[in-house]
Amino acid sequence: MTVTDVLVCALGAVSLGAALRVVTSKHLVRAGLWLVVALGSLAGVYLVLTAELLAWVQVLIYVGAVVVLMLFAVMLTRAPIGPSDDLDRAKVPGVLIGGGAGLGLAAVLVDAYRWREVGLSDVEPGDAGAMGREVFTSWVLPFELLSVLLLAALIGAIVVSRPDVGQRSR
């Protein structure tokens, strides 16, 4: 095992443990905070994979924005502060279906590479310069489409969440 393997195993263990706590925690707010740990350690995994820009974007968007938004939603829906016991449905079918899907997925992915060693010394790191060149040369159209999608999502969120919009026309 090399240094990167050890790093990935450690970060992956942190991420998996935190993800398990997200799914099993009885406190809504704590589930959100464990999500921060899970996504933050995934950012570490991205760094190990030399996806530098992606790691920082992960920290900015997920840890910074998405989790804060979710904690706001927890507060706005007046969730109970303490532990709440009615958070779970029947466990057995869900665990069976999800576990079966996950096992199949892991089998397919592992079967594709069969623990082969992949030489990775000469890979261009995904820092901001390289990513920017790539985005603005061969990925311009999806980039522009995504900006339109973001604008549509913003307007849609405003329309959905304002009770007075749409009632005037009726």
């Binding site: 990167t4 195993c9 991420s15 998996l16 993800a19 398990l20 997200v22 799914v23 589930a31 959100g32 996504l39 995934l42 995994v45 991205y46 996806a51 992606l54 974007v57 992960q58 968007i61 997920y62 998405v66 938004l69 979710m70 939603a73 706005l76 829906t77 969730a79 709440s84 958070l87 449905r89 466990k91 079918p93 869900g94 665990v95 279906i97 999800g98 576990g99 899907a101 996950g102 892991a106 992915l109 590479y113 069969r114 623990w115 060693e117 990775l120 000469d122 261009e124 990513m131 790539e134 985005v135 995504l146 999608l149 973001l150 849609g156 969120a157 405003i158 959905v160 969440s161 009770p163």
Partner: protein, 99 residues
């Protein structure tokens, strides 16, 4: 390095997210589990980018993050308006479309 560590990590993370979506009842926790699944998919994309030595997978992961941010905005707006009309954020209470 072998890519299998990353791929197994992504598969297990996806499994945890999928089980969470199926098992949890509060809509916001369901959302958190969807984020976990999206991140697992992102991890496989970045791993494949690393294997192939190109940046395309990383850019796709980047775009997935943007779509995920839009999805969270819309989803939370829908949760808020459901909460406003039904006084509950539980997915079991949002059953109007069930026959």
């Amino acid at each position: 390095m072998t890519p299998d560590y990353y791929l197994i990590l992504a598969a297990v993370l996806f499994t945890i997210g999928a089980v969470g979506v199926l098992v949890r009842r509060n809509a916001i926790v369901v959302f958190m589990c969807v984020e976990l699944m999206l991140n697992a998919a992102n991890l496989t994309l970045v791993t494949f980018a690393r294997i192939n030595g190109s940046l395309d997978g990383q850019i796709m992961a980047f775009f997935v993050m943007v779509v995920a941010a839009a999805e969270v905005v819309i989803g939370l707006a829908i949760i808020m308006s459901i909460f406003r009309s039904r006084r509950s954020a539980s997915v079991d209470d949002a059953n109007l479309l069930k026959y």
